[in-house]
């Protein structure tokens, strides 16, 4: 680093310190600009002030990793929280790049050549920080997506007990290989755990059945059959029945029913349970007067 570089650095650092309030106010303004019209917490000022101080500290100890890592931690926190609150990448990036704009205004007002030279060096540092922010932002977003996918997988595959020895799996949403695997494993394990001999797979919530989905359903039924349980597929809507026949999918000897109620009635009958409606009997109670 040349002596000239050093002087310009010191000059800019001096400017940063002297005009802290001014830069901060402007920074908050710039970073809030794209958010106008939306509910934004006033906490931004405090948040940015903290980052600003960390930034100054990291400039101080240019070689010490302490200040820099603190600054990065703060930036990561900022982008994480913004990602979670549904901010767009631009809104998050502006929060960092806005600092450059704010500082530039101060440097320009100062009008010193040293200041401008130092500003170029500073802007490189800020670019670096901006990239880092963006990186943490997308990492946070990816993590959110992964978490949601997992939650969805857990949410959408319950195995419920309808009766002693009868299980039901209400499927909601499109069936892909990953989900079929989860459903299959869960169903088979529950069959073992509860000793159930019948399982009803209800596809009322499956929007469309193509050859692949049918293949997955057949696999599940076959696996259950191998374990000694029989499966009934229910909830086949008219359009789906039409598609299945048009595609030429062969369900073989698998029992299919139109509604879950039909499937329950069938499985109850198969397992030897009789359902009868109670005869309406009227019981009259009268108090005899003594």
């Amino acid at each position: 680093m040349t002596v000239q570089d050093n002087t310009s650095r010191h000059h800019v650092e001096g400017l940063l310190r002297a005009n802290e309030e001014r830069i901060l106010t402007r920074w908050v303004e710039i970073s809030n600009e794209p958010l106008r019209g939306r509910a934004v917490e006033v906490g931004t000022l405090e948040e940015l002030r903290e980052i600003y101080h960390a930034f100054l500290r990291s400039l101080d100890g240019a070689d010490g990793a302490d200040g820099a890592s603190e600054l990065r931690g703060l930036l990561a926190e900022l982008s994480r929280s913004r990602a979670r609150r549904g901010f767009t990448p631009r809104e998050t990036a502006v929060a960092v790049f806005g600092l450059k704009e704010a500082i530039y205004e101060v440097v320009e007002a100062d009008g010193d050549v040293d200041g401008l030279r130092g500003f170029i060096w500073l802007s490189r540092t800020i670019d670096d920080l901006g990239l880092y922010t963006f990186e943490s932002f997308s990492t946070a977003r990816e993590k959110i997506i992964i978490d949601q996918t997992e939650q969805l997988l857990e949410l959408s595959t319950p195995v419920v007990k309808l009766w002693d020895g009868i299980l039901a799996v209400p499927l909601v949403g499109t069936l892909d290989s990953a989900r079929t695997q989860v459903v299959m494993e869960k169903l088979l394990q529950t069959l073992v755990d509860t000793g159930s001999e019948y399982a009803v797979i209800d596809i009322t919530g499956v929007p469309a059945v193509d050859t692949e989905v049918a293949q997955h359903l057949l696999k599940t039924v076959m696996a259950a059959r191998l374990m000694g349980a029989s499966c009934v597929i229910s909830g086949i809507r008219p359009q789906i029945a039409h598609t299945i026949v048009t595609l030429g999918i062969e369900f073989g000897d698998i029992v299919t029913k139109a509604t879950l109620a039909d499937a329950l009635a069938y499985t109850l009958k198969q397992s030897g349970v009789e359902v009868a409606s109670r005869k309406r009997t009227r019981v009259a109670v009268r108090a005899e007067e003594a």
Partner: protein, 125 residues
């Protein structure tokens, strides 16, 4: 490799496979079982594979072969206690084992066999 024991309960033969089988043991079991079915004129064979954790296509085919063999000798074969992982593996291997009857556990297997033979005797066979 020691042999898989074949136990007789009433007119049912019970084969309980403990642990994973190698190919030689599978072949020995097939021969032994055919002989015992003839010797005892059993009405049913129950193969308990609760303890089997790993299957390959060979074991899958063994189950089909035994079932076919026993049927020739007029004995119904029921495979009981298949683990979920095993069932998934067999399906992925494309072995649906058609013609093989299965039950969740030994108790249900015996119940299934007795229902079967009851239906048979009711038909006067």
């Amino acid at each position: 490799m020691d042999r898989v024991p074949i136990l007789k309960i009433g007119d049912i033969l019970l084969v309980s496979i403990q642990g994973d089988l190698d190919d030689q043991a599978v072949l020995t079991l097939q021969e032994d079982l055919a002989e015992r079915v003839v010797a005892t004129s059993a009405a049913g064979v129950i193969i308990d594979i609760t303890a089997v954790e790993i299957v390959d296509s060979f074991v899958g085919r063994m189950l089909s072969t035994i079932a076919g063999m026993s049927r020739m000798l007029d004995a119904e074969t029921i495979v009981v206690g298949m683990r979920p992982a095993v069932a998934i593996t067999l399906v992925e291997l494309g072995l649906s084992l058609g013609g093989l009857r299965t039950a969740l556990d030994l108790e249900k297997g015996i119940a299934l066999l007795s229902r079967h033979s009851a239906a048979f005797s009711a038909a006067g066979l």
